[in-house]
């Protein structure tokens, strides 16, 4: 089983926090990280695991979800995404934080949390949405669904995955 991995502070931006862990992840901890006296807004996104999915038009109950990560590359990709968010897309952002849980995530709990602060609300709100989109496109993390009807567990594929749009070749 993968152990808890937090990003190293070396050669990373001190206004960015990246966390990949098998432990439960905390919205409060991410909000506290992005909190700043210069910020008039803190925006957050929490992705939670739900108890059913539609598979080929049929609703199937999900008993368990598990996530696997290529941890060093996932952490590097997260840092790249946060840097791009701040330098290219949302320049007024003050601090950014992202946490993704791996291993088994019980139904109803958070698998991902994103937090952003900015002087006005727009950049913080837009940054959380953009970071989630980029996470789904290119961070090497995989979700496996286990079903209540006993059918074979499946690895999911994000429709946003960057190389599925144009094909891998």
């Amino acid at each position: 089983m993968q152990t808890s991995v937090a990003s190293s502070a070396t050669s990373t931006n001190p206004t960015h926090h990246v966390e990949l862990t098998t432990d439960p992840i905390s919205l409060a901890a991410l909000v506290d990280f992005v909190r700043s006296d210069e910020a008039g807004a803190i925006a957050t996104f929490s992705g939670t695991t739900r108890n059913s999915f539609i598979v080929s038009g049929v609703r199937k109950s999900v008993t368990e979800l598990s996530y696997e990560a290529y941890a060093p590359m996932a952490i590097a990709q997260f840092h790249t995404i946060l840097n791009e968010a701040q330098t290219t897309h949302f320049p007024t952002v003050i601090k950014l934080a992202v946490a993704h849980r791996t291993g088994v995530v019980p139904v109803g709990q958070e698998s991902v949390i994103i937090a952003a602060s900015s002087p006005g609300r727009k950049d913080a709100q837009n940054a959380t949405a953009w970071i989630l989109d980029e996470l789904k496109r290119r961070v090497p993390i995989w979700k496996k669904e286990h079903y209540g009807d006993g059918s074979v567990a499946t690895w999911k594929e994000n429709g946003e995955c960057s190389w599925l749009a144009g094909g891998p070749h």
Binding site: Y70, K136, V139, P140, W142
Partner: protein, 95 residues
């Protein structure tokens, strides 16, 4: 001198190979291994990877690389060198 590199398998690639990680070698008569040849070698070794490679790509030293050996970010052509870390990357599903 051994010219080894690591291959990591994730998600459906791990299920297809029943391995997390393997050490493979670059052939004695080559300095580097072209990515198309690597993919042929891996699917010969693990026939289950044929289906996986319909949608999977590779990462070499944490950079995504397509089946031709072109980095997705920047388009540089790369080959596998001794000491490299290669990963088989099925479509991602984080979030």
């Amino acid at each position: 001198m051994a010219k080894n590199f690591q291959v990591l398998y994730f998600a459906s690639a791990r299920d297809a190979t029943l391995a997390r990680e393997e050490t493979l070698s670059i052939p004695d008569d080559c300095h580097t291994l072209p990515v198309p040849q690597l993919i042929r070698n891996l699917t010969a070794r693990h026939p289950g990877l044929q289906a996986v490679f319909k949608s999977a790509i590779l990462a070499i030293n944490n950079q995504y690389v397509d089946h031709a050996g072109r980095e997705l970010d920047g388009g540089r052509m790369v080959e596998v060198k001794p000491g490299d870390e290669v990963a088989v990357i099925p479509p991602v599903s984080g979030g």
